[in-house]
């Protein structure tokens, strides 16, 4: 089977299959999520796909009251903010993701360092379907 190219299109396809995938440089072993085709550590170009276990910790977050139209359509608004954040994966790399299972209207209850588990949020139908990378408290 042909290896999928190490680009954002492949990354998104994997997300639709509930897989959080990154690329590993075969020369220096550096890991990248989302995948990179050029290693920013050694500039190597030989990559392999690696699946993340999907566990990590919250390192930063925000509760967004005024968001883009695609988020507002999901029912979020000034009274019901959604949460986006930065997650430190157990594999030692970080991703940005939606943070689910927390109350965006009570930011003081959301703690940096909280252990998280990956979740794949599927939205929309057929061709217009989208999968959002999300994490929720373990």
């Amino acid at each position: 089977m042909e290896v999928m190219p190490f680009n954002d299109i492949s990354y998104e396809r994997f997300l639709k299959e509930d897989k959080l995938m990154g690329s590993r440089c075969q020369k220096c072993n550096a890991l990248f999520v989302p995948p990179r085709s050029i290693c920013i550590k050694c500039h190597g170009t030989e990559m392999e796909w690696v699946e993340m276990k999907g566990k990590g910790k919250l390192v930063a977050f925000t509760c967004i009251a005024i968001g883009p139209p695609f988020m507002m359509k999901e029912g979020y608004d000034r009274q019901h903010p959604y949460v986006s954040g930065v997650v430190d994966l157990d594999e030692g790399v970080r991703v940005v993701a939606r943070i689910d299972g927390v109350d965006g209207s009570k930011p003081e209850t959301i703690k940096i360092g909280t252990p998280l588990q990956v979740e794949f949020l599927h939205r929309g139908e057929a061709d217009s379907s989208k999968t959002f990378l999300a994490f929720k408290p373990l």
Partner: protein
């Protein structure tokens, strides 16, 4: 590895002007740039014939998207009557006109041109807030946009990381907002030239006149803690942590050092310039600093031979309150984790030892994104020449000022150091 840079020949600023920043129904990009240009001409002490301008570099980020018109270089050169002189647009998101400054500096330093006009323009207010947010998101990392991050959201997340690392809180960020408003109160060109206290008094007056319950805010921080007065945009960023949507233009005239005295006896010299690029949130090793700013600062300090303590005043890119705290650390004015304490102690106030954003900053002066970089230089021009009026800083022998401009979420950062000799 960052090599020590040098300029082929010296570059001076001999004129600087800006339009009023704000939301204007009856003024478009051309109108605003003409305003800035005419003011700039009036500041050139010995005069300048526009025919002598060799080239224009113009920063603009979103006019393509907001008013469906791109290709602003020749529109502005035609407006000014300087065609067929070359006109080049520069794009670096909110740092677009800082890139214009650098192009102008390089063009003169190389010996190619002697007189270069650099400026920026942006027309944002004719769209809804949602459309503006969508337009500005064009400068974020695509991964961030996909998971719902907005610009205030990115800086909100950065703030939570800063709070967790250094023990700062929202209360500390309020000091930035209060200071910005106090400075902007003294700046007639500022979009919000009122102090927080003025805003509180206006609201109290309005409530009294309408016979509504009168708010009982004890001080500015109580006002900023009131979620009705200061609602959440992207926690911990509230309305008063965020810069507004603005229209505006600004420009600066750069000339070769050896001819500077033909234009004025009191020029400023561009002694340092630096630029860096940065990664998205997920790829940053630490969310509490901007590597692009640190790189730009290192380059500019190296070129000038100056140190952070030599810079007496600075305009920094306070698109959000937390950003100002981080920049004054990245630029070396204060140690990492000490910026919020310095602000609390009043060191960055107009009468402090290191005044920051005497114009009111992006927060209060306004942030017509493409016009911000050269707009910051206009403030330093006024301060170093002692022409800042009521907001003139009381520092004796004021000679060194600097501007820091940031594009996107730290993707493009610049630092420019100016000296009056």
């Amino acid at each position: 590895m960052q090599r020590r840079r040098k300029l082929g020949r010296g570059v001076a600023v001999v004129g600087a002007g800006m339009s009023r920043f704000g939301m204007f129904k009856d003024a478009d990009s051309k109108h605003l740039f003409a305003e800035a240009f005419n003011e700039m001409l009036a500041t050139v002490d010995k005069g300048i014939d526009p025919e002598d301008i060799d080239a224009l570099y113009l920063g603009n980020f979103t006019n393509d998207f907001f008013i469906n018109q791109g290709h602003w270089g020749p529109i502005i050169s035609d407006l000014l009557g300087i065609t067929p002189k070359p006109a080049t647009r520069t794009e670096g998101a909110c740092a677009s006109s800082a890139l214009a400054i650098r192009e102008g500096v390089f063009a003169i330093a190389s010996g190619f041109y002697d007189v270069v006009l650099v400026g920026g323009v942006e027309e944002m207010s004719k769209r809804t807030t949602e459309e503006v947010a969508q337009g500005l998101a064009m400068a974020a990392s695509p991964y961030e946009v996909k998971v719902g991050f907005t610009f205030p959201g990115v800086f909100g997340a950065i703030a939570t990381a800063y709070f967790a690392k250094y023990g700062a809180s929202r209360e500390h960020l309020m000091n930035v907002t209060i200071k910005s408003h106090n400075n902007a109160r003294l700046n007639p060109k500022a979009q919000f030239n009122v102090s927080i206290r003025d805003i509180m008094n206006q609201r109290i007056e309005r409530a009294k006149n309408k016979g509504e319950p009168v708010p009982a805010w004890g001080d500015e921080k109580e006002f900023l803690r009131d979620h009705r007065a200061n609602p959440v945009v992207a926690w911990p960023m509230h309305l008063y942590d965020c810069c507004p949507i603005s229209d505006g233009a600004s420009c600066v005239l750069l000339v070769a050092e050896e001819i500077a005295k033909n234009f004025t006896d009191n020029p400023l010299y561009v002694v340092g310039t630096g630029q860096g690029s940065g990664k998205g949130l997920h790829a940053k090793e630490d969310l509490t600093y901007f590597e692009a700013t640190r790189y730009a600062a290192h380059e500019a300090y190296g070129l000038s031979g100056l140190k952070p303590e030599d810079v007496q005043i600075a305009e920094v890119h306070d698109c959000f309150s937390i950003a100002e705290v981080i920049h004054i650390e990245d630029l070396g004015f204060f140690k990492p984790g000490e910026g919020y304490k310095a602000i609390e102690e009043g060191l960055t106030r107009l009468d402090g030892s290191k005044p920051i954003n005497t114009s009111g900053g992006l927060k209060c002066k306004g942030h017509p994104v493409g016009a911000t970089g050269t707009g910051q230089l206009v403030e330093i021009w006024k301060q170093l020449r002692g022409e800042a009026g009521e907001r003139q800083v009381p520092i004796k022998n004021l000679r060194i000022g600097a501007t820091h401009n940031l594009g996107g979420t730290g993707g493009t950062c610049t630092f420019t150091i100016l000296e009056r000799r």
